[in-house]
C-alpha cells in the first residue's frame, strides 16, 4: 500500500465515521440509525485494515475482519431484529430538535479538535490527524444517549461511543492487542444483549420501551 493511498483511505474512513455520527443526531428513524451504525462499523474496519496493511501487522488485519463481522453485521442485525419485533421505527419526541442537535454536534466536534491538539502534535502521520474524529464520536454518542428516550436509541448511542473509543485506540496506539480487542467486543455484545433483554422486559411491563417509565423506580 503506497503512502498516498494509505492517507486517502484513512481520510475516507475517518470522514465516514464523522458523517455517520453526525447523521445519527439528525435522523429520527431507528431503521436509518441502524443502517448508519452498520456503515460506521464498516468504516472502522476499513480504518483498522488500512493501518494493519500499512504497518504490516497481520494481526491487525485479522482484527479488522472481526470488527467488520461484529460491528458492521452482527450488532446492527441484532438491533434491526429488535426494532422489527418491537415495531418502533421512529424515535418520538427527542429532547432537542434536529437543528439544535446538529449545532451541538458541531460544537462538540470543535471541542474535540481543540482538545486533541497536543495528541495530533505528537505525530505527523495521517493517522494522528484522525484522532479528533474518534473523540467526536465519543461526544456525539453521549449526545445521542442524552437526547433519545427509546431503549434502542440508547443502544445505538452506546455503540457510537464504543466506536469512538476504538478509533482513538487504533489511531494512537497503532492498534490494540487481539486479546484486548476481543475482550472489549465481548463486553459490547454483552451490553447489547442486556439492553435487549431489558427492553423486552420493559415492553412486557409497560407495553412500550420508553426510558421515562424507569422514573417510576425512583423512591
Amino acid at each position: 500500500m503506497t503512502e498516498s493511498l494509505f492517507a486517502q483511505t484513512v481520510a475516507t474512513a475517518t470522514g465516514l465515521l464523522m458523517l455517520t455520527a453526525v447523521l445519527q443526531v439528525w435522523r429520527r428513524s431507528t431503521d436509518a440509525s441502524t443502517k448508519l451504525l452498520a456503515i460506521q462499523g464498516a468504516a472502522l474496519a476499513l480504518l483498522v485494515g488500512a493501518i494493519g496493511l500499512a504497518e504490516g501487522h497481520a494481526e491487525l488485519v485479522l482484527i479488522a475482519f472481526v470488527v467488520l463481522a461484529f460491528k458492521a453485521v452482527a450488532l446492527p442485525w441484532a438491533l434491526a431484529r429488535t426494532i422489527e419485533r418491537s415495531g418502533i421505527h421512529r424515535e418520538d419526541s427527542p429532547a432537542v430538535n434536529p437543528v439544535s442537535g446538529l449545532l451541538a454536534a458541531a460544537g462538540l466536534a470543535t471541542l474535540a479538535y481543540a482538545v486533541s491538539r497536543p495528541l495530533v502534535a505528537l505525530d505527523t502521520g495521517p493517522a494522528a490527524h484522525a484522532v479528533p474524529a474518534g473523540l467526536t464520536l465519543v461526544l456525539v454518542g453521549f449526545l445521542v444517549l442524552l437526547t433519545r428516550h427509546r431503549a434502542v436509541s440508547q443502544v445505538i448511542g452506546f455503540l457510537v461511543i464504543d466506536n469512538g473509543i476504538a478509533t482513538v485506540a487504533f489511531l494512537t496506539a497503532g492498534g490494540v492487542p487481539l486479546v484486548v480487542e476481543l475482550g472489549v467486543l465481548l463486553d459490547v455484545v454483552l451490553v447489547v444483549f442486556i439492553l435487549r433483554i431489558l427492553s423486552a422486559r420493559l415492553e412486557l411491563a409497560h407495553g412500550e420501551v420508553d426510558l421515562h417509565d424507569l422514573r417510576e423506580l425512583h423512591d
Binding site: 453521549f142 437526547t147 426510558l211
Partner: protein
C-alpha cells in the same frame, strides 16, 4: 512454633469454620454448632493473648495481589496480649450463652455468619503489627457488629434508627483514624508500629495526628460527647451481641489510646493529657448520671459502659500528666489501674449484659419498672448478676473494687506540692479524686437499683411473675463469668502483675495469697486476708446473735385492721423510677427531664380523683444540644440534593456528560 503462632494460625481457621457452619447447618442445630465454634474461636484468641503476654513472639502475614502491600500483618505485643485475652474470653462466654439464647431473628444464617467476622475482627485490632491491618480489623469489627445489630430489625422499628446512628458514628471513627494514621505514616514512611514509633512527627503535625486519632478512638470508646450511638445500639442488639460490643469492642478504643499514648507518640505537650482528662471525667460523671436515672435495664448498662470507659481514659490521662511531670512510678500505677479497669469491666459487663439477656428471655421485659421478685424464680441468673453488680458498684471482693482502689491510689499519691509537681497536676488530681468518688457513689446507687428492683420484692407485672430460670447453656456461662469476677477480686495479684508487664510498669508486686502491693505508693491490698479477717470477726457476732435469738421466742405480728385495704400490693413498691426520683431532683438542671402529670376526676365530682398518670422522659441533653442542630442542617442539605435526582436516566447521563465537557474545556484552556 510458639503458642502465639499457633493461636494466630488457629483464629482464621476457626473463624472460617464458624462461618461455614453458620451457612451450612440447618436451622434447628445452627445455634448449637455455630455457637460452639465461635466459643472455640474466642478461646483460641485468648490463648494467643496469653502467649503474647508471656512474651512469646508470633507473627502471621498474608500477602495481597498488589505487590508491596501486605493484606494482613499480625504481631501482637504484650499490651495487645492483654486485650486479646479480654476479647477472647468475652467472645467465648457470649457465644456459649448464644447457644441457648439465640433464636428466631438472632439465630438466622446471616446473624451467625456475622458473629465470627465480628469476633475475629476484634482480635485483629490488638494483634495488628501495622496501621493497615489495624484499620482492616477495625472495619471487619464494624461490619460484623452492624449485621448482628440489624438482626432483629423486622420486629422492632427502633433497631433501624439504632443501626443508622451506629453506622454513622462508627464511620466517623474510621475516617478520623484513617486521617490520623495517614499523618503518622506519611511522616514515618512506613505503616508498621515500629516504623512510626522510630520516626514520630513533631510539633503541629504530631498534635494534629493525636487529635484525629484520639477523636476516632473516643468515638469507638463511647466517650461524651460522641457516646450517642452507645445507649441506642447496645439495648437494641441481641444480648449475646451487646455483651461483646460493650465488654470488648468499645475497649479497643482504649487499646488504641494506650497504643497512641504509650507507644506511637509517647512524648506530647501538656494539653494532650488535659484534653483526655476532660473527656474521661465528663464521660464518667455524665454516663453514670444517665445510668442512675434510666429504668431500661440494657440502656442503663450501656450508659454505665460510658462511665467505665471514662474512668479508664481518666486513668490514662493522669498517667500522661504524671509522666510529663517526671513522677514515673505513680504514673505506672495509674497505667496498671487502666488495665485492671479494662479487665474488670470486661468481666462484669459481660455477665450483666448476659444476665439482662437471661431476664429478657424469661420475661420479655427489659424495663426495670415491670420486673421484680426474680431472685426466687431465677436463682442462678440472680446470683451471677448480683455478683457482677457488686463489681460494677466497686464493692469489695469483686474485680471492680480492686481496679478503682488502684486508680484512687495513683490519684491520692500523685505529688501535688513537691518538686515534681506543676500547676496542672496540683489542680487536676484533687478534682479527679472527687469526680471518681462521685462516680463511685452514683454507681452504687445505680446497681443497688438494678439488683433491688429487678430481683428483690414482688413482681410488678404478670410476665415477671411468670418467669422461669433459663436453661443451663445460658446460666452456666453466666456463673462462669461471675466466678471470674470474684476470682479477679479475691486474687488480683496475678492480673496486676500481668497488667504491669503489659504496660512495662514497675512497682507492682504480689503479696500474701494473691494480693497486690504497690511499693511506689506504699499501698497494699490482700483481699483473701481481708475476707478471712472479716469471717473471724463475723463468726463471734453470729454466734452471740444466734444464742440471744434462741432465748427470746419468735413472735409473729399480724396487722389487726387494714382500713379495708390490702396491706401490701406490688403497686406500692418502689419502682426504678421512684427510686431514682431524689437523684433526678438533685441533678434536675443537668438532666432536664420532661414530666407529664395527668389527673382524671370522677364525673360526679371534680374533688374526687379517679386516676393519676405520671410520665417522665429523659432526653440525652448532649444529643439534643449538639446533634439535633447538625442533623437539621444535614437534612436540609440532603433535601436540596434530592432535587437534583429525579430518577431519569437522561439526567444522570447529563451529569456525567456535563462533567466530561467541562473537564475537556478546562484542559483545553
Amino acid at each position: 512454633m510458639t503458642l502465639t503462632d499457633l493461636g494466630l494460625l488457629g483464629q482464621p481457621l476457626l473463624a472460617v469454620l464458624a462461618f461455614a457452619a453458620a451457612v451450612a447447618v440447618t436451622d434447628q442445630r445452627r445455634s448449637a454448632v455455630a455457637g460452639t465454634l465461635n466459643a472455640a474461636l474466642g478461646l483460641a484468641i485468648a490463648l494467643t493473648g496469653i502467649g503474647a503476654l508471656l512474651g512469646q513472639p508470633g507473627t502471621l502475614t498474608l500477602g495481597s495481589p498488589i505487590p508491596g502491600i501486605g493484606l494482613l500483618s499480625l504481631a501482637p505485643d504484650r499490651l495487645g496480649g492483654i486485650f486479646l485475652i479480654v476479647v477472647g474470653l468475652v467472645g467465648a462466654l457470649s457465644a456459649w450463652f448464644g447457644v441457648g439464647y439465640a433464636h428466631g431473628a438472632s439465630a438466622t444464617r446471616a446473624a451467625w455468619a456475622a458473629y465470627p467476622i465480628f469476633v475475629w475482627g476484634m482480635a485483629i485490632v490488638p494483634g495488628a503489627g501495622d496501621a493497615v491491618t489495624f484499620l482492616l480489623g477495625w472495619e471487619l469489627m464494624a461490619l460484623g457488629s452492624t449485621v448482628l445489630l440489624l438482626s432483629e430489625h423486622a420486629s422492632r422499628p427502633q433497631v433501624r434508627s439504632a443501626v443508622l446512628w451506629y453506622a454513622a458514628m462508627t464511620h466517623l471513627s474510621f475516617v478520623l483514624l484513617l486521617a490520623g494514621f495517614a499523618v503518622l505514616v506519611g511522616h514515618a514512611g512506613g505503616a508498621s508500629w515500629a516504623a512510626i514509633a522510630a520516626q514520630p512527627p513533631t510539633g503541629a503535625s504530631a498534635s494534629l495526628a493525636f487529635a484525629l486519632l484520639a477523636g476516632g478512638f473516643a468515638t469507638k470508646a463511647g466517650l461524651v460527647p460522641v457516646h450517642v450511638w452507645l445507649p441506642r445500639a447496645h439495648p437494641e442488639a441481641p444480648s449475646h451481641v451487646s455483651a461483646p460490643m460493650s465488654a470488648a469492642m468499645v475497649k479497643l478504643g482504649v487499646y488504641g489510646l494506650l497504643l497512641l499514648c504509650t507507644r506511637l507518640l509517647p512524648e506530647g505537650p501538656h494539653w494532650w493529657g488535659i484534653g483526655l482528662l476532660l473527656l474521661g471525667g465528663a464521660s464518667a460523671v455524665y454516663g453514670i448520671l444517665q445510668a442512675s436515672v434510666t429504668s431500661d435495664l440494657k440502656r442503663l448498662l450501656a450508659y454505665s459502659t460510658t462511665e467505665n470507659l471514662g474512668l479508664m481514659v481518666t486513668g490514662l490521662a493522669v498517667a500522661m500528666l504524671l509522666r510529663t511531670a517526671g513522677q514515673r512510678a505513680v504514673a505506672d500505677v495509674a497505667l496498671v489501674a487502666v488495665i485492671l479497669l479494662v479487665v474488670s469491666h470486661a468481666a462484669f459487663k459481660t455477665v450483666l449484659f448476659l444476665g439482662a439477656g437471661s431476664i429478657l428471655h424469661a420475661t420479655g421485659e427489659r424495663d426495670l419498672d415491670r420486673l421484680g421478685g426474680l431472685a426466687r424464680l431465677m436463682p442462678r441468673t440472680a446470683t451471677a448478676t448480683s455478683i457482677a453488680a457488686l463489681a460494677a458498684a466497686a464493692l469489695p471482693i469483686s474485680s471492680g473494687f480492686v481496679a478503682e482502689w488502684v486508680l484512687l491510689q495513683s490519684l491520692v499519691h500523685g505529688d501535688t506540692r513537691g518538686p515534681g509537681a506543676d500547676r496542672v497536676i496540683a489542680i487536676a488530681l484533687p478534682i479527679t479524686v472527687s469526680l471518681v468518688a462521685l462516680t463511685a457513689g452514683l454507681a452504687l446507687l445505680t446497681f443497688v437499683k438494678v439488683v433491688g428492683i429487678a430481683f428483690l420484692a414482688r413482681a410488678r407485672s404478670e410476665s415477671a411473675g411468670a418467669a422461669h430460670e433459663s436453661p443451663a447453656t445460658m446460666t452456666v456461662p453466666l456463673l462462669v463469668g461471675a466466678g471470674l469476677v470474684v476470682a479477679l477480686g479475691l486474687v488480683p495479684g496475678w492480673v496486676a502483675s500481668g497488667a504491669a508487664y503489659a504496660v512495662g510498669a514497675s512497682g507492682v508486686e504480689q503479696v500474701g495469697l494473691g494480693g497486690v502491693a504497690l511499693p511506689a505508693v506504699t499501698a497494699l491490698l490482700d483481699p483473701v486476708a481481708l475476707v478471712l479477717m472479716a469471717v473471724a470477726l463475723a463468726v463471734p457476732v453470729a454466734v452471740v446473735t444466734a444464742r440471744a435469738a434462741r432465748r427470746a421466742p419468735r413472735r409473729t405480728v399480724d396487722l389487726p385492721w387494714g382500713c379495708g385495704g390490702v396491706r401490701v400490693d406490688p403497686m406500692m413498691q418502689y419502682t426504678a423510677t421512684s427510686y431514682a426520683e431524689p437523684l433526678v431532683r438533685v441533678f434536675d438542671d443537668a438532666l432536664q427531664p420532661t414530666r407529664d402529670l395527668d389527673v382524671t376526676h370522677t364525673t360526679e365530682s371534680r374533688y374526687l380523683v379517679r386516676a393519676v398518670a405520671f410520665r417522665q422522659r429523659m432526653v440525652d441533653q448532649v444529643e439534643r444540644g449538639l446533634y439535633q442542630p447538625v442533623l437539621g442542617v444535614l437534612e436540609a442539605v440532603g433535601d436540596v440534593g434530592r432535587r437534583a435526582q429525579n430518577g431519569s436516566i437522561q439526567r444522570y447521563l447529563g451529569f456525567s456528560f456535563t462533567a466530561l465537557v467541562v473537564v475537556l474545556l478546562v484542559v483545553t484552556w
